[in-house]
């Protein structure tokens, strides 16, 4: 089921959307990311797993420039986004992000949440933006709640609205940082359902998750991070059944 044909073919980086090259991140003395290198290719779903504090969130936040990398480079279609700060807005619009805490705008309805970015960043007309918003809200099953404020809907609904908000920007890749970790168990399924649907539709995704069976099911590749480094990256089958590294094996057996 998984697309495994582009592992270890990183020598031809022409179709890589994102290339992370020797990325470093320090918080004071704390070396949170050390020499991280990886690529994300079009249509891939890459899952990042690892214990808490491994640096998974920091990696995603660096990719979206919510954190300033301390070293290394991030290439988007071969161009460094770190040196070119002028186009940071356009870059971020193309790299969507979905957060553990949803981060919807509390002063806006679900529809307005999806519209404001399109109008302010992409310069779309309000009518056009609303049409796009309604289309994506319908896809994630949230059209019915267009007029609701975030405080009036459940966690699962908030997360689906947040996904619609990201989709409205027509991103080339979406970063998910533990999108189901703050949800009640009965709501996890509806959000994973939306993500599964996106993956099937060919959306390029980079997903930090603790939902191992989900990661195994939808990923083209799984990246295991441990204390700031990429310990192992391989197909889901290899990572979950016959990992090559001892640490990966220990982590997998601790969670299964």
């Amino acid at each position: 089921m998984s697309n495994i044909n582009n592992i270890n073919t990183n020598n031809s980086n022409s179709n890589a959307i994102l290339e992370i090259v020797n990325l470093e991140k320090r918080f004071g003395e704390n070396n949170v990311l050390r020499d991280i290198s990886m690529s994300v290719f079009e249509g891939e779903v890459v899952s990042i797993i690892g214990s808490s504090g491994a640096g998974k969130s920091t990696l995603l936040r660096c990719i979206n420039l919510l954190e300033e990398p301390s070293g290394g480079d991030i290439l988007f279609h071969g161009k460094s986004i770190i040196t070119d700060r002028q186009s940071i807005s356009r870059y971020r619009a193309k790299v969507g992000m979905v957060f553990q805490q949803f981060n919807l705008f509390n002063n806006m309805t679900v529809l307005q949440n999806c519209v404001v970015g399109q109008v302010k960043v992409l310069g779309r007309s309000r009518a056009e933006a609303e049409e796009t918003a309604i289309m994506y809200l319908d896809r994630v099953g949230m059209y019915a709640f267009s007029d609701a404020l975030p405080r009036q809907i459940s966690g699962g609904q908030k997360q689906r609205a947040a996904i619609a908000r990201a989709l409205c920007m027509n991103p080339e890749v979406i970063l998910f940082d533990e999108p189901t970790s703050s949800l009640d168990p009965e709501m996890v399924g509806e959000v994973l359902g939306v993500m599964r649907y996106l993956a099937k539709g060919g959306m390029t995704m980079l997903v930090v998750t603790h939902e191992m069976s989900f990661a195994r099911e939808i990923s083209s590749r799984v990246v295991f991070m441990d204390s700031g480094i990429i310990e192992e990256a391989d197909t889901p089958d290899v990572i979950f059944t016959s990992p090559k590294k001892e640490r990966t094996r220990a982590f997998i057996s601790s969670i299964l």
């Binding site: 619009a93 509390n106 896809r139 099953g141």
Partner: protein, 270 residues
């Protein structure tokens, strides 16, 4: 001149009602304008004081932000740390009086009062609004940045509206405080309610009766304003119900839902 208390009150009222009325109008005008301008000053100061500085910013930007922040906190500390009555004297005799010397006395008083109240209120508002900005969770800022909105766009479209709503009670409170505290401006001869009351009282040496009337007027003002503000706050909370749209078809058909039934699930995936 009647000797009884109520007799005195009604005598002063009938003789000086227009003084009280004019004083009341000026008190309302200067405290309302002072609160509005003070709010604007506070808004700007709070905005400037919450500009983030990144390590990657140019040294010039870092330096000017730091310089500005020193100036602005000095302003806030000084104006919150000294009485408005003293600020009035210093500002008025320190140049404001001369600067406004072309104006008729009444207008000179009103303009001076508005300027002094605005500067004073601005210092308090700046801290109130900054608190409001900080109280909006930073996740919303990140959510907005992540779709490409600029810091300024996020501030104006997302953070500010919520910050202002959060601090509405404190802003209203500043207005009420200003209605009362504008009375100190009688020291620079602003013809507000307290100043007018003094004239009314002094004519027949009926201080008790005159200032009893004054107290009643101040109370009615603050009481009314408090009620109005509470009403506005309730309006600003927003509706707690929303309309459920017919899913899938974008049909006009819709169900009205109150927040009690908010967990109804929407349509599924297509």
């Amino acid at each position: 001149m009647p000797q009884s208390f109520f007799g005195g009150v009604s005598f002063i009222l009938s003789k000086y009602w227009s003084l009280f009325l004019r004083g009341t109008v000026i008190t309302v005008v200067v405290s309302l304008s002072g609160t509005i301008f003070g709010f604007l000053i506070g808004l700007i100061v709070a905005l400037l004081r919450t500009i983030p500085v990144h390590k990657s910013d140019k040294p010039l930007k870092k330096l000017s932000v730091r310089f500005l922040s020193v100036i602005l906190s000095a302003y806030i500390e000084v104006f919150r740390g000294t009485p408005m009555i003293v600020q009035a004297m210093v500002i008025y005799y320190g140049g404001l009086s001369k600067a406004l010397s072309g104006l008729h006395d009444i207008y000179k008083g009103i303009v001076s009062a508005i300027i002094i109240i605005s500067i004073n209120t601005g210092a308090y508002m700046a801290e109130i609004i900054r608190g409001g900005i900080i109280s909006v969770d930073s996740g919303q800022m990140e959510g907005a940045l992540s779709i490409g909105m600029t810091y300024r766009q996020v501030m104006f479209n997302v953070i500010f509206p919520q910050a202002i709503r959060n601090v509405m009670p404190s802003i209203g409170n500043e207005f009420v405080v200003n209605i009362k505290d504008s009375s100190v401006l009688n020291v620079i001869s602003v013809a507000e309610l307290y100043f007018m009351s003094k004239s009314a009282a002094g004519a027949y040496y009926r201080y008790f009766e005159a200032f009893f009337i004054t107290a009643v007027i101040y109370f009615i003002l603050t009481f009314t304003v408090t009620r109005i503000l509470r009403f506005i706050e309730r309006k600003m909370e927003g509706k707690d119900s929303y309309t459920i749209h017919g899913s899938q078809s974008y049909s006009k058909a819709s169900i009205h839902i109150t927040s009690e039934s908010k967990t109804i699930t929407g349509g599924g995936l297509k």
